[in-house]
Symmetry: C2
Subunit: 182 residues, 2 copies
Amino acid sequence: MDLRKKIRTIPNFPKEGILFYDVMSLFQDAPAFRQAVDDLVEYFMKKDMHFDKVVSTEARGFILGSVLAYEFHAGFVPLRKPGKLPYKKIKQEFKTEYSTDAFEIHEDAIEKGESVLIVDDLCATAGTACAAINLVEMLGGKVNGMAFLVELTFLKGIEKLKGYDTFSLLKFDNENVKEEKT
Amino acid sequence: MDLRKKIRTIPNFPKEGILFYDVMSLFQDAPAFRQAVDDLVEYFMKKDMHFDKVVSTEARGFILGSVLAYEFHAGFVPLRKPGKLPYKKIKQEFKTEYSTDAFEIHEDAIEKGESVLIVDDLCATAGTACAAINLVEMLGGKVNGMAFLVELTFLKGIEKLKGYDTFSLLKFDNENVKEEKT
């Protein structure tokens, strides 16, 4: 199955001139969703890697992140927009194409020395990925892997993640595409 | 393992006088997360039920919903707050304890006659669950099951879901608890 064809493109969303790559059209397709998960898991399984926690950002990141947490017998840790988490937490700001935003993580979500896999649906400028790394490392976790369903290669976000073991399942090179985190 | 003990309670969140039941403390605990998923899956597997789609609401609902979609070899369909979905969609308003809100679903996310499982982390007044049912049925889907990690029994939301096959893994009866959808 060509998973690339399961990603629908939407012109002028969320803003005029932006071509949006819609991962929901893949998620709602049962065989495609299953294959995407299995391919992401396989990359790290083949390396015999172990993770204590899988960390993902609100909200689409949760969809793949929680399945990978289950498959790796890891705990799942959501990074949320400010004000959503109820317990003691720390915050990291980041920039998107449009604005400055922030994510929070519960202080007890990761213990010192734990092995962490960061999962997201999309890697564009990698602003959210860098914020996720910072939050994990501030808590003493070790980011041993990063998995993305889609990478927008022309935005070169992946270059900011040098030194980390990153895997992007589907790569798109289209200069009309910009990052949008909803 | 007593999964109830993995749910942390937070007084006065998100408002004074509210006792918040925090499912994130369970999700971040690997064995507890795994057992919760397995117990929810087992209830429907034992009945030999099949689902084409699993539907969950933004954002915490995605965490269990996507794992159950994977386990049932189903597609995953997110219900999102207005303005987040990029493609053709329909909308359903609902009431929470605090305000009126709405969810949207992509028009092509469910096909006529498909078997649907609705999954959420929490059932309180069931306002979001009823909105989810309406959206699925407007698209011609058949809601054959509803799974909740936590049910706040004293709010009696489950009574609004009569006629549907509902399963709540953990039931809490505490009159200080109110629904909060974040």
